[in-house]
Symmetry: C2
Subunit: 218 residues, 2 copies
DNA sequence: TAGATTGTTAATCGATTAACAATC
DNA sequence: TAGATTGTTAATCGATTAACAATC
């Protein structure tokens, strides 16, 4: 007759209902702060302490976590190692994801050499560019490959995540190739909204947007 | 007796009440899309078209804009040049802000050489680092300066905006120096929450957070 | 005029907070 | 036990959407 509901929840940490994207967006921030607490040698924390460090109310943290299970102990708080592990499972970063980087400009260079991905669930395994002057050149520990080989490589390796660091003018056409080849998540540094079919996620990073957001208050 | 309320609104485009931060955060995205429409040679658009391009409802766009004035014409839509100008005024990017960059690593290199700031209201005018091997070296069109001279330079030039591209371990102490010297807005690429006093704004960019957000859905 | 689209109101929807029983 | 903190409920708060009169 299959698993009981309770068993499944214990085994998979499936959310009871559909959890809103705004809540999912906070989980990586909780996880990051827990990592810092662990590095400080701490073993236990509370929703109050976590909230104080993050500028979030303790009630919100407890409510967010409650969508996925009961991870704390009344009177005590949360075991940092345990909660971190659960968050990694929920976010599916209890494994290492291969990431393909497209664009070998200054930004691609910075990303390929960034030490912050590994240990957080991500490994940049290949870099592609369409500039003949860049193809074949080393970039960090990788060699820049020809963009025309992207579809084949993505399909062969089954890559699901891409980082897009190409000019705005090329972003949509590269995206079409990525999606067509099987990419399901794109971190887009190009300052344009991408058109993608349902089932493909995009996150945007544009420093100009953030700067203009702040100047409003100056 | 001073200005009438209507005159002030026409002259300053002050919001009628306090406008929520979530609305302010969308304005730069509207402005960016309007710029693309203008580049395509378009002169008029509608809340419907803008919404379709951005994946936002037309009602939301009209409501957001209505907090600041009446920028459209019934039956016609919005004049792209006019609305862009108004948004630049509201966001205070109808001028060019000097920006100081702290951190001359790979990321600092990418930021200093990024052509997307100028024309959007920002100009990186100086780069600082504390690494003796980097101080004095050229970075794009700039020369890396010694971090110990940061306070004096910020005060002398009256810089208000900083981009932080230093390791996480140094971010808070650099922030303290920046704030103490007069910086009021920080774009933080270090993966840590910064403690700043009221009146200082921070925006965060951390690719790991965005990637972990997306893996939830994979 | 007829058609289109704004600005705004009221209704809906969703997120956050406050409070507290449960319990470690 | 007494004190502390969770998980959850109900209340509040705020954001989004639908609808439409106004009007270009």
């Amino acid at each position: 007759m299959g698993m009981h509901l309770e068993e499944c929840e214990e085994a998979c940490f499936m959310a009871k209902g559909k959890v809103s994207d705004i809540i999912i967006g906070r989980l990586p921030i909780y996880l990051r702060e827990l990592t810092y607490l662990a590095e400080e040698g701490r073993e236990i924390t509370s929703s109050q302490e976590l909230g104080d460090r993050l500028g979030i109310s303790s009630a919100q943290i407890r409510k967010d976590l409650s969508h996925f299970g009961e991870f704390g102990k009344q009177g005590t708080g949360y075991h940092i190692g345990f909660l971190s592990e659960k968050l990694r499972e929920i976010l599916k970063v209890d494994r290492v994801w291969d990431v393909v980087l497209v664009g070998a400009g200054y930004l691609g260079h910075a990303l390929a050499n960034y030490g912050g991905f590994i240990g957080k669930g991500f490994n940049i395994v290949a870099v592609f560019d369409n500039d003949p002057a860049k193809i074949g050149q080393p970039l960090g520990r990788l060699i820049v490959q020809d963009s025309k080989d992207l579809p084949k490589a993505i399909k062969e390796h089954g890559w699901k995540i891409a980082i897009l660091a190409v000019p705005a003018s090329a972003a949509q056409e590269v995206t079409d190739v990525l999606v067509e080849s099987g990419i399901r998540a794109i971190l887009n540094y190009a300052p344009v909204i991408l058109n993608v079919p349902p089932g493909v996620r995009v996150q945007y990073i544009d420093p100009v947007i953030d700067l203009q957001h702040m100047t409003y208050y100056l």
